[in-house]
């Protein structure tokens, strides 16, 4: 039973922080699973090579000049997100709600189904770019340094208490406690 309000030893600190680390790792793992489930996207090249059935997300750039919003179903071409790379384009028709994010040269993620015979992608949803690396960086920096800082302080408190108990007290030179020189 962990006594609340009193931390007697270093071992308790280590156990407590192991538990904290495990919980944080579990939360981060759940976040990673969620990322893979809902956000991870493939590029158009991979789409053409692998030709998956079912719902898939593709990350790419709307090729400028190909966006046609006048029809009831807007259509455009999607290329690799990097302008410099040699690209393959896929034809996308968007059947979802009207969306401001659909603009020329915009990098976005389309979510929908791919038809290999007609070489057409039917997008049901548009998503903005996920920028996951920024989130990862921010959370790692903040949570890890917080845990490190706090762990260090708690450990110092215990170590100082131990040192104080062991400390003999100041003896000026040449004088012992019984007064003899």
């Amino acid at each position: 039973m962990i006594k609340l309000g009193e931390r007697q030893s270093l071992r308790q600190i280590y156990m407590q922080w192991t538990v904290v680390l495990i919980i944080v790792a579990v939360i981060f793992a759940l976040a990673v699973f969620r990322y893979n489930r809902e956000i991870a996207a493939i590029s158009p090249e991979v789409l053409l090579q692998s030709r998956p059935d079912g719902m898939v997300r593709v990350l790419g750039r709307v090729v400028s000049g190909t966006l046609n919003k006048k029809e009831s179903v807007p259509t455009f071409h999607l290329s690799h997100e990097s302008i410099l790379k040699e690209h393959t384009e896929i034809f996308v028709q968007y059947i979802g709600k009207p969306d401001d994010n659909l603009r020329e040269s915009k990098v976005l993620i389309v979510s929908g189904f791919f038809d290999p015979e007609k070489m057409e992608f039917t997008a049901q949803r548009l998503l903005p770019v996920s920028n996951v690396e920024f989130i990862v960086a921010a959370y790692l920096i903040s949570i890890l340094s917080l845990m490190l800082f706090l762990f260090n302080m708690e450990r110092n408190v215990i170590l100082l208490s131990v040192l104080i108990k062991e400390e003999k007290g100041y003896q000026p030179e040449g004088v012992t406690t019984d007064g003899s020189a």
Binding site: K3, L4, G5, E6, R7, V20, I23, V24, I27, F28, L30, A31, R34, I39, N101, L127, P128, V129, S130, N131, V132, F134, I135, A137, A138, Y139, I141, S142, I143, S145, L146, F149, L150, M153, E154, N156, V157, L160, S161, L163, I164, E167, G169, Y170, Q171, P172
Partner: protein, 237 residues
Amino acid sequence: MISPQLRGKLWKWNGTLGILSGFFIFIGLFLGLVVSPPDYYQGEVVRIMYVHVPFAKAALLSYTTLFLGSCVYLWKKDLIVDNLCHAAAGIGVFFTSIALITGSIWAKPTWNTWWTWDPRLVSFAILLLILIGYLMLRTFVDDKKREASYAAVMAIIGFVDLPIVYFSVEWWRTLHQPMSISTRGISIAPGMLVPLVFMMIGTTLLSLYMLMMRTQMLYLQHLLEAKQGGLLSEEPS
């Protein structure tokens, strides 16, 4: 003199505070990273808000604690209160730096710039400089009681000055930059409000916990130094 009984009673609550803050933060992290929806315009990056905003509020809370503690110290001359101020400054530096770093990381995908002369960002940077100056001042003064008074004076002046800095930068910015970037102008959907509230409560409790822990650590450091004879006054020069 803050009575030792009061200190003892407060210290007994320390563990509960720690566990409670951990509870709120874990739930907040879980909701923020796994459950809450992404923002319409910003996408997933809005999740950085769940760390950035609570840390910024904790930084301001530490700074206010520093100011109040300094006033109480100058009134009562209690050295435990001085330890509290020193602890609050250290914690303030930590939270302010992390808030600035996460804010910068958030700004890059959102506004396509690492830094902007926004009054809030500039005030936070100046706050960091003031706190670092405070800690350096404490390092360079030799006499313990003088160190406490000087530091308290510095904290009071800094706290009074910070709103003036904020308003002056705000006026300067409206003059020199068009208000095209709305600072933190996201309308918060309910799905995003709940994790934010959990994280705010958790971080506030955590900063209180850290404050108590750090005050205790500094107090023990002084005690050890006193026991080793380090605080005996030197010969007057």
